[in-house]
Symmetry: D2
C-alpha cells in the first residue's frame, strides 16, 4: 500500500525538481557556471536554515502518542543526527577562505519562510507529516549532480572541501531507507498520506526558492 | 523613534511590491489582462490562506506578558475583525458564477508556505513581530490598483462584486492606523524592530509568490 | 444529548466542590473564620493565575478548524471579556489597605501548576476541552457562599469592596449560558465529552489546591 | 556560582520531600504499610505520566538557540533514554499478577495536572527550566527508601520485580551527574535560576499530590 504513496511522492518530487532545474538558479548554473561569490551566498542561506533542522525534528514528537514508540525513537535519533550539520558548511567555507563575514548575510525571505514553515510542520502537522520533508532531503543527491559538478570544475573543490554535500550523500543512503521504513510503518491513513505529500512538495518548492533568491541576491550585489 | 522604523518598513515594503510588480503575475496582468479563470484561481488561493488569519492572530497573544493589556486587547479584537473574511471571497465568486468547484483547488505550495509561515510567526515570533504582516496587509490598496483596475475593466466587476477587496480598503484605513499605533507603542527594542521588518518582508514576499504561483497554475492548466 | 454531558459535568463538579468544602481551607474558614492576612494571601494567588486566563483562552483557538467560526468568535470574545480581571483583585486589596506588597508574594506550587495546566489545555487540548474549565468557573458562586459570607461578616467587606467576586457573579450568569451553548454546540464526540469532563475536574481540583496551599502558607507564616 | 543554585535547589527539594513525608500517603505507608491494591493504584498513576516524559523533554528543545548545541544534544539523548520507562511499570505489575485491568484506571486529577504541567514546562519554560524537574527526579532514591522498604517487606518484591525503581536508581546516578553538568553550564542568568527552582518545586509538589491522590482513591474504593 505504501508503494502507491512512494510512487506519488516520487512523482511530486521529480516534478518539483524539474521546476527547480528550469528555474533561474539552475539555468544560471548551466549557462554561466558557479563562482566563489554565488557559492558563498547560497551556502550562507543553507547554513541559516540547516541549524534549525534538529530542533523542528525534535518538536515534531509533540503530538505523537506515547504508544508509537518507534516513531518517537526515530524523532529523537534523527534530531541528534541532524545536529551540527551547519558546522560542515562553516568548515567548507573556511577551507576555501570564504567564511569571513559570509554568515553575517541575513536570511533571505525565502530562507526565513523555509525556516518558519518547517517549524510549523513540526508544531502543527507533526512527525508523520515531517517525513515528507526528510523523504526528498535524504535523497537529494541524484538531483544535484549538476551543482556538485560545477562546484568541482568551476571552483576546483575536492570532496574534503565539500563535506556538507559529500558527507550527506553517504549518511543519507542510510537515512533514506529509515525514512521510507518510517513512512511505510506510520503513514497509514489518507490524511497522513496527504500530509506527507504536502510537506514534501512545499518544503522542496521553498528550497528551490532559496536557490533562486540566492542567485537574485548575487545578481543584485554589484 | 518609531518614525525611523516606519521609514524602514515603508522602504522594505515598497521594494518588495516593486519586485511583485516586476514578476510574472503582474507582467501578465499588464500585458494580457485578467480573465475569469485566472481570477478564479488566485481568489481560491487567497481563500485558503485568509481563513487562518484570525487564528494565527489569536495565537500570537501566547507570550505577551499579561501586563501588556493593550497589546492583548489588540490581538483579540483584531482576531475577531479578521473572522469570516473568506466568506467575502466566496460571495464574490458566487455572484459572478465562479464559485462552483473553485475552492476544491488545493492550496499551492506558495499558499501552504504562507499559511505555515504565519502560524510560525504567531507561535514563535509573537504579537509584536506579527504587526509587520498587518502593517503592509492593512495598507495594500495603493499597490494593487492595477489589479483592481483590470478586475473592473476586463471582468466587468462592480464594487459590490469585489466585496473582499473593496470592503477591505474601507476597513483597512482604520486598521492601518491601529497597526501603526501598536507598533509605535510596543516595538521598542532593536530585536522587536528587526522582527517586525523580517515578518513584513517575508510575508509580503510569500504573497507575491502566491500570485506568481496562481499564474503558473493558470498557464499550466490546458 | 448534551443533557447527559451536563449531568455528568454537574456530578463531577459537585463532587469536587464537596471535596474542597471538606478540605483544610474550607474547614478553617468555617471553624476559625477569615482574617485579613489569609484574605490577602489567597487573593494574591488568585491574582497570579487570573491574569493568564485571557491568554490561554486566546491560544485555545489554535487548532479550531476555520469553519467552526462560532467557536472561534467565542474564543476571541471570551478572551477579551477575561481581560483585566486581575485589576479587580488589585482594587479590592487596595480599598482595604492590603495591596501594599501583597502581589510580591510568589505563586505557590499549586498556583504555578494551575497556570501551567491551563496553558497546556489551551495549547494541547483546545477550545472545546477548555469549556470544561469555563463551565464550573462561570458558575462558581453558589459554591462559595460561605467564603463570601465570611468575607462580609469577618472582614466587614461591602459589595463594592469585593468587586472581583461580585462583578463576576453578575457577569457570569450571562457567561454561564454562553458556555453551555458552546458545549451543546461543539462537544459532539465521546472524545470531546471526555476532554471537557477531564478539564473541568482537573482545573477545579487545582483551584481547591490553590486554596489549601494558601491556608498552608498562612499557617506557616509565623 | 552554580554551587549556590544547587544549594537552593537542595533546600527546596528537601523541604518539599519533607512535606510529602508528612502527608497522607507517606503516613499511611509508615502506619499501615503497603498492600497490593495501593501498589497497583499508584503504579498505574506513575504509568500514566511516565510515558509523556520523553515527549515533553523532546519538545523542550523548541526555543533553544541552535548555537547551544550541547543543550540540544542533552535534550535529544535524554528524551531517548526516557523512552519506554512505562514498560518497566507494566513488567513490574505483570510479574506479580497485577497488570490485568490496572492501566484502565483513568489518570487522577493530580496526575493529569502533572502531565499537563510538564508539557507547559517543555513548551513555555524550555529546556533549561525543565532541568529543575530532572534534578530531583534523577536523584529521588534517597527520599523513597521507606517506600521501597515497604514494597520489599510488605509485598515481598525482589529487585527484579521492582525494575522501574531499581533500574532507575542505577541509571539515575549517571543521569544525575549529567543534569548537574547541564545546569552548571546553561542556567546562567537569575531568570534561568528562578525558572529551574520553580519547576523543581512545582513538579515535585505535584508528584506528592499524585501519591496522596492515589491513597485517596485507594481509601475511597470500598
Amino acid at each position: 500500500m505504501s508503494e502507491r504513496l512512494f510512487r506519488m511522492l516520487d512523482e511530486e518530487i521529480d516534478r518539483t525538481w524539474a521546476e527547480i532545474h528550469a528555474g533561474p538558479f539552475w539555468r544560471h548554473l548551466l549557462d554561466k557556471g558557479m563562482d566563489r561569490e554565488l557559492y558563498r551566498i547560497f551556502m550562507a542561506q543553507l547554513w541559516h536554515y540547516t541549524q534549525h533542522n534538529p530542533i523542528n525534528q525534535s518538536v515534531a514528537a509533540w503530538r505523537v502518542p506515547p504508544a508509537k514508540m518507534g516513531l518517537l525513537r526515530y524523532c529523537f535519533e534523527h534530531a541528534e543526527e541532524e545536529l551540527g550539520h551547519e558546522k560542515m558548511i562553516e568548515h567548507d567555507l573556511r577551507v576555501v577562505d570564504l567564511l569571513d563575514g559570509a554568515l553575517d548575510a541575513p536570511a533571505l525571505p525565502a530562507t526565513t519562510a523555509l525556516i518558519g514553515y518547517l517549524y510549523s510542520v513540526g508544531l502543527m502537522d507533526g512527525a508523520i507529516a515531517r517525513l515528507g520533508y526528510s523523504y526528498w532531503a535524504e535523497d537529494a543527491y541524484p538531483h544535484i549532480t549538476d551543482l556538485l559538478g560545477h562546484m568541482r570544475t568551476d571552483l576546483g573543490l575536492t570532496d574534503r572541501e565539500m563535506s556538507f554535500f559529500v558527507a550527506h550523500a553517504e549518511i543519507d543512503a542510510k537515512h533514506s531507507d529509515e525514512v521510507k521504513e518510517q513512512i511505510a510503518r506510520w503513514a497509514d491513513t489518507p490524511e497522513d498520506e496527504q500530509a506527507v505529500l504536502k510537506v514534501a512538495r512545499t518544503s522542496l518548492w521553498l528550497t528551490g526558492q532559496l536557490l533562486d533568491a540566492s542567485l537574485h541576491a548575487y545578481l543584485a550585489r554589484s
